[in-house]
């Protein structure tokens, strides 16, 4: 038990130091712009199909599941607004972030873990190239910027899924549906929900990089790095979400 607690505190301390190094290195030139753009493509563009499918299903299923309850109260007309609010405030950010934790965090963990095991990171270091700057800073930055964009994309796709859900049981014009969606939305709904996604992205990238970069020697540790990256990133998403909702509740 003592050893387990010691390893948790040890890990927490190392993650803090790892994050502090990120803030130290991110402002120092040279900037790895080319690699950053490549990572934005890998993390952002290549996640679009997955996010699109899950976003659409989220909107559709949420609409279909909410409809009977609203119909009991004769409030079916609230359906577009309710679906849009649920999606934008909570469901799309959290589900998209969890999907990204599974895809991006594990991918980074496995990639950097295998680079560590096969001495590619050491090779970079002995070539006088800063591997932290090239591999870690670019990935964390790309994840921090791409996850919010993916969430906004999932919001849009989810709302269009909702339109299909509404139209399965009734008939509503797209213009009327969109206007009902926007009538129910306020900036207070969108801004805090979007701000928290930057934190989701940061933690997804940072935890993946930390687990990969600190993988022990041996191929077994690559699997462990990928697995623990997903678990820790998913857990951190829920914790950040809880804190973000509490803070939003106080201020708005």
């Amino acid at each position: 038990m003592v050893i387990y607690l010691k390893s948790i505190f040890n890990d927490a301390g190392n993650i803090i130091l790892f994050t502090a190094r990120f803030f130290k290195e991110v402002t120092k030139p040279p900037f790895e712009t080319k690699e950053f753009i490549r990572q934005c493509y890998e993390i952002g563009y290549k996640s679009l199909p997955l996010v699109a499918i899950t976003g659409f299903i989220m909107g559709l299923v949420l609409t279909l599941q909410s409809r009977p309850t609203l119909a009991d109260f004769g409030a079916e007309s609230w359906l577009p607004g309710m679906v849009a609010l649920s999606l934008i405030r909570e469901i799309a950010p959290v589900v998209t972030a969890l999907i990204c934790a599974g895809k991006i965090s594990s991918g980074i963990g496995a990639e950097l873990g295998s680079m560590k095991v096969t001495e590619q990171i050491d090779a970079m270091e002995v070539s006088a190239i800063n591997p932290y700057k090239y591999l870690v800073v670019t990935r964390i930055l790309a994840a921090t910027l791409m996850v919010p964009l993916l969430v906004v994309f999932a919001d849009g796709i989810g709302i269009s899924g909702g339109y299909m859900g509404v139209n399965i049981h009734s008939d509503i014009n797209i213009v009327r549906y969109i206007s009902q969606v926007f009538e129910s939305l306020d900036f207070v709904d969108i801004i805090p929900a979007t701000i928290k996604t930057f934190f989701f992205g940061f933690f997804i990238g940072m935890i993946g990089c930390y687990k990969g970069f600190t993988a022990a020697n041996g191929t077994e540790s690559v699997g462990k790095a990928a697995n623990s990256a997903v678990v820790l990133a998913s857990l951190s998403i829920f914790i950040i979400d809880m804190l973000a909702v509490q803070i939003t509740d106080i201020f708005f």
């Binding site: 001495e119 590619q120 050491d122 090779a123 970079m124 270091e125 002995v126 070539s127 006088a128």
Partner: protein
């Protein structure tokens, strides 16, 4: 046997690399290096022998700052690098090439990109044409021009090591550190790599430290050998002298 008993080739120039009383411990009681001393003269090929886990790789990793020594001196080009910061270490690292056991090629890059990666970062004044020429020239020197656009996954073990060597050579290092350059290769390919090590030394007048278990490679490449046992240098000398050593343990490496 004292190290000097079998030592035949005494370096006649100031050592390029000198390790004095080097200690390294992992965890609480895993003492890997227990006061290692050796030096390498300019243009010399030093082969480091020893059983697995005797601390050979750790010793050469200390030379480039990949592993921080606990105690002792690591003098490279006349400077003790033990307390150097990253920037100071990087200046030294640019003058040292390190060939890793499996080549350590960047999996996501082609052979061309693997070679261009360090070159473009450290020689920013070069044009794309000059970089391309340097890549072709270096690949030619290791006999692998045809692999220029291949990915590392398409290369055999021997080819990976050659490309790894080319990536190291492209920065024109003065010292080359080889970590088991022939491990996992067949006899013919091992011989080719050993010949390559010699031809590089001849062509570029490099100083080399070669860690190996392959006695054929050691015989061919070594000007001098040191044998590590339990983190200290147990024997030192030329191949011929150590082969005829009075110490049965030393002779067991050559049988």
């Amino acid at each position: 046997m004292t190290p000097n008993e079998t030592h035949k080739k005494t370096p006649n120039t100031a050592p390029v690399i000198e390790i004095k009383g080097l200690y390294k411990t992992f965890g609480k009681d895993n003492h890997v290096l227990n006061g290692v001393n050796f030096s390498v003269a300019k243009g010399e090929n030093l082969v480091v022998l020893g059983r697995s886990g005797s601390g050979k790789s750790i010793a050469i990793k200390c030379l480039v700052g990949l592993v921080k020594a606990d105690k002792g001196e690591v003098n490279v080009f006349g400077k003790n690098i033990v307390k150097f910061n990253e920037n100071q270490l990087n200046e030294i690292r640019l003058r040292i090439g390190f060939l890793f056991q499996n080549g350590a090629l960047y999996d996501s890059m082609s052979v061309r990109q693997n070679l261009a990666f360090p070159l473009m970062r450290h020689s920013t004044e070069l044009t794309a044409k000059q970089v391309d020429n340097a890549i072709k020239e270096t690949l030619e020197s290791v006999g692998l021009t045809e692999a220029i656009d291949k990915m590392p996954s398409e290369l055999s073990g021997g080819m990976r090591k050659r490309v790894g060597l080319a990536r190291t050579l492209i920065l024109k290092p003065e010292v080359l550190l080889y970590d088991e350059p022939t491990t996992g290769l067949d006899t013919i390919t091992s011989r080719e790599i050993s010949d390559l090590i010699l031809s590089i030394q001849k062509k570029h007048q490099t100083t080399s430290i070669i860690i190996t278990h392959d006695m054929a490679c050691a015989k061919l490449t070594a000007d001098r050998l040191v044998i590590l046992k339990d983190g200290i240098i147990e024997a030192e000398g030329t191949y011929e002298a150590l082969e005829k050593s009075n110490d049965a343990w030393v002779r067991s490496f050559f049988s």
